[in-house]
Symmetry: C2
């Protein structure tokens, strides 16, 4: 398996990005991803019950169809809590894109990120779509990956290649963070493109398994977004033998997991105001679920996060968070290890003495910069 720390679109995919004027800063805010041939799709969305309009529209398109060819995504406005108009606007984004690309609107998936509860300026998006579609190219991923960002300080991108028989399969992912990041899922948009030929059931299964171990294992601020979306398209252009089970599926899932883990890690490293990247490993748990819950409860403790920022080895705050999780841990069994706090990367290991299962969570510290960003953000 080869890993590239940059986005290289697999065969058959093109992308484009530009500024249509949603962001006051004039930075890119509209991205289009396109597959020359219909692709299978698998998606996972936020568990937030007040999910945004584009999430609702994607769910409708996924129920209706099984072939997708485009993803249109804007930043600067989440199109969330925008009522009936919001859904209409999301549908209009899909329709305008489909019209230009000469595909059915149901073949277009839509994603938005940005401020909640403000109506979308649909006119700006609609008038930019023809130009955007005209710019589609393999190299266009350079603009597209920037156009999905909000408070992110850097782009998040990775490409993985692996051999399958005589063919090379490629998986490329781009993502945006950087606040409102919590599991189920992080506040983020992730778009993953692969030229693999794979059965619909296997694609879905692989994505669910990978998201559980990656995007659902990160937290910046414990705040669950309304817009989280992971969209995965597989267009079969690699010409490999059909992946459906066994060793082939393991290979694909392993490569997809590498993509998801890398993007998750990048999202946390770029967490709003973050000065530390923290890995919390909880081990000796009875099962994965309790290990994960304890790790997340530690990761979401503001007292833990501020201690990490202050490079203050106050491990009593970890004890308090473990106890607050409600899990019955015996004091004598609880072992806590902290790597030196003066470094940019910190490892926390917590042993519960209850069994043999473990979970790994990525998080960041809580800093004055986080407050500055979020007190001012409008």
């Amino acid at each position: 398996m080869k890993v590239y720390n940059k986005a290289i679109l697999p065969s058959g995919f093109k992308a484009a990005g530009l500024s249509c004027g949603l962001k006051k800063s004039g930075k890119p805010d509209l991205a289009l991803f396109y597959s020359a041939v219909p692709a299978k799709g698998a998606c996972m969305f936020t568990a937030n019950t007040l999910a945004a309009a584009p999430v609702e529209l994607c769910r409708q398109h996924l129920r209706k169809g099984s072939a997708f060819q485009a993803v249109i995504a804007n930043s600067g406005n989440a199109n969330c809590f925008t009522g009936a108009r919001g859904l209409k606007d999301a549908r209009a984004m899909a329709k305008a894109t489909a019209g230009k690309l000469k595909i059915r609107p149901e073949m277009v998936l839509v994603a938005s990120t940005g401020i909640i509860a403000k109506p979308l300026d649909l006119g700006k998006i609609k008038s930019a779509i023809p130009h955007l579609a005209g710019k589609l190219s393999a190299g266009g991923i350079e603009q597209a990956k920037r156009a999905i960002l909000t408070t992110d300080l850097f782009t998040k991108e990775v490409t993985v290649e692996f051999a399958l028989g005589s063919k090379t399969v490629s998986i490329c992912g781009v993502a945006k963070g950087a606040g409102m990041i919590a599991p189920d899922m992080a506040t983020m948009l992730t778009f993953i493109f692969t030229d693999a030929r794979i059965s619909q059931a296997s694609l879905k299964k692989a994505l669910e398994s990978c998201v559980d171990k990656s995007f659902n294992c990160i937290t910046v601020d414990g705040c669950m977004s309304t817009n989280d979306s992971v969209i995965l398209l597989a267009n079969s252009c690699a010409g490999n033998r059909l992946i459906s089970s066994g060793r082939d599926l393991e290979l694909f899932t392993g490569a997809l997991e590498a993509v998801c883990l890398k993007l998750s890690e990048l999202i946390v490293r770029d967490g709003e105001g973050a000065s530390k990247f923290i890995r919390i490993r909880v081990k000796d748990a009875k099962d994965y679920a309790e290990a994960r819950k304890v790790a997340l409860d530690i990761a979401n403790s503001n007292l833990f996060k501020t201690a990490m920022y202050g490079e203050n080895p106050n491990f009593g705050r970890i004890v308090a968070a473990v106890g607050a999780s409600g899990l019955r841990v015996k004091e004598k069994d609880l072992k806590i290890k902290l790597s030196p706090l003066s470094r940019r990367e910190i490892d926390v290991e917590v042993a519960l003495g209850r069994g043999s299962c473990a979970a790994l969570i990525f998080t960041s510290d809580l800093t004055p910069e986080y407050i500055k960003i979020n007190a001012a953000y409008n």
Copy 2:
């Protein structure tokens, strides 16, 4: 009902406070509360499964006996995650106090607050107890209420009086905050003394009902403490007819609730780094439990808290928190009202459109000062 914004000990109670050297600052750190006659006791403690040694000792004493005469409390060290030695130290605190007061050790309740996971300097406490006991007086509450504080900026105290037949019953409470504050319960110690004559069952029932509506409805940082304790002693010195049910119990519970609510409010007003005092009222819920959960989920959202600090009416963050609670709320039914954010006190009202129940939560904002305090605290 008369309310005094200061601590006036009811008849039969005395207190004292001094510095025994646990706090490096030299501020008072040891408090003793005493009833001249045996009192009934009702207590509520943290739900943290790694509760501190003094909490464990109090639970043992409450199982053994039904009459209490003293509370010994130290600040500067939580005596938590201190193993078998911790419990031995807490027991030694009770024993030394009992010895000096010539009562049984089981009649002494113990509380500690401060840093977690450092052994207590028992020698300092033991050698100060004789002097502390010698200083007991009604006016000694002035020192005692200061000796329980940690990062608090002000004392928390209130006294309520009400007539019962021809007698006046008094309830006096003192508390400490100010960080690691979350329900079940807040990180806090609260000591409440009353001269009421009341049945054991009614005392317990009244306390549980009042704590649910007060200390369990506040959050500063969502972090559940290991040491939270509410200790209530009733010594019958008012000579009133026995309170056991009906109107008398309602009167007592009402007065006790006023004490608990006032102390809860003071704890939040003195929340670490707080620049705003925020009341979140969630209404039109199906039941109290869901109203309370949504209100707490909003209150514990760092994005909501930073928006309040920034006086930024970003109500999309309230929408996101409501949806993240998992409750099925229809977008069109959700109504959010915010009072002007430029004021020191902010009212948030959220209507869910699901029913007719409501809950009220007090919280504070998240500020750079909170981070400063908690990054440095050792």
